[in-house]
Symmetry: C2
């Protein structure tokens, strides 16, 4: 009835390591029933076994040792610790939410790179005509130099988070190239309308366009625009604004990457005929 266990035996009974037991003793979380004066040997009894069971259970639920001390100090029934359990559940729920966000971000990057990889093997891109579906986007319209849109994408992505439903793109409202006072709108496709100050959500209309994928740094986009505009002119199409650039592969979330490998799809809407 009154038998005592050495620390090794107790370790096997409870599944806790000897090191952990000594640690819990030091923290006064699980104090052996008897400590021999001369040798310092620890001896544990059946009450210790019960306490150890509680400790194991609570640790598996993710409570810290400090919290355990709080909890075990003056509670011996689960009814008394419901508040602790609720708080812990709340913590876990938050943890899960942030982890899910991270997974979503990782997924976006992985998918982006996978698609870009598939495109990279294309030897040379040609002008295409295609039908664009309607697209819900969140954007920030601005005036300035084209290269000012970089940080704006950062802001958009961070602000929209899990609502993002496609690749970053930019709308251009000038019919021509402008150095300093361009009128454009960095934006990103979203699943649903999102309220956010400074960010406008609306639907880009469906319609036909001519499209060309440009490979290389943004400074050389002019050449691809030239090819596209020539094509539009030859066919007698009527170009419409805003034109779009879709950044299939550009400076990423993580690295700036190699500009020679950037892929940008230029889309010039044309009148349906």
């Amino acid at each position: 009835m009154n038998e005592l266990f050495s620390i090794g035996e107790f370790s096997k009974i409870t599944g806790l390591t000897v090191k952990a037991l000594r640690f819990y003793h030091e923290r006064e979380l699980l104090v052996p029933a008897r400590v021999e004066a001369g040798s310092g040997y620890r001896y544990y009894d059946h009450d210790n076994v019960q306490a150890a069971r509680a400790i194991v259970a609570l640790r598996e639920l993710g409570f810290s040792v400090a919290e355990l001390a709080d909890i075990l100090a003056d509670h011996q029934d689960e009814a008394d610790i419901v508040e602790f359990l609720r708080r812990r559940k709340q913590q876990l729920a938050e943890q899960i939410e942030t982890d899910r966000q991270l997974v979503a971000n990782l997924d976006r990057i992985i998918q982006q790179e996978t698609e870009a990889k598939a495109l990279m093997s294309t030897p040379q891109f040609e002008v295409e005509e295609k039908q664009l579906p309607a697209l819900l986007v969140a954007g920030i319209r601005m005036r300035g130099r084209y290269d000012e849109c970089g940080p704006v994408f950062g802001k958009l992505c961070r602000a929209l988070g899990r609502h993002i439903a496609g690749k970053c793109m930019c709308l251009y409202y000038d019919g021509e190239y402008r150095e300093d006072d361009a009128d454009f709108e960095p934006c990103v496709p979203v699943k649903r309308a999102v309220e956010m100050e400074g960010v406008a959500v609306r639907e880009l209309p469906a319609g036909r366009c001519v499209s060309l994928v440009h490979r290389g740094p943004y400074q050389q986009l002019g050449r691809s625009y030239e090819r596209l505009l020539q094509y539009v002119k030859q066919r007698g199409y009527q170009m419409q604004l805003p034109t779009r650039e879709v950044y299939l592969k550009g400076p990423g979330m993580i690295f700036r990457g190699n500009p020679k490998k950037y892929l940008t799809e230029i889309q010039i809407p044309i009148e349906d005929s």
Copy 2:
């Protein structure tokens, strides 16, 4: 073009603390462009800014500093690190899964205690007749002493995990009290059939029963059985096997609790008439 930033300026630019920057330097993760020989002052350049952006992004994704060293050592494009990203995603998915399990466990305990608390305010329990719905349970039938069922519930709960759909219960196949060689089956309601060796899943039939909630330690269950059986006899009902005990509140997942507060519902099935 070639401007350098002191560690304080660089800290503001990148959002990393001065302490963190010194730490990354020590780990050779982010080495300043120049370190003044005399004073040891660190000076950072634009390449350092790019590298810091990558570090911030990867740290936000939850990579450890050691992993960062690996990743940054020989990759400068997101396409190169897709494998790392995939592994990280896998880790996160596992983390989310275990956290969800914990939340489910917490939920079970909280709900259990909430229901028990409501019952605890009942002054005195009376014999009731009621209709039991059919119930899918997973159980382990065994022979031995009644108190051997305790650890079996532990096993069941751990094995079944998130499939559990109700409170622990025990079926008794003997028509009478047995000391040593009882035939009984600890079991637990489940949502769906689960394959597991040693565990049998089946449906308990619906039917009428007489029921009494017993308050107090299990040693005193006999008194409540007596009341119930007397009731059955008085009404001339025909008792059927197995009888059931539902552990509304007993030794919990965490604490053994106070046996005087245990609540156990005894259910004795009777023939439909």
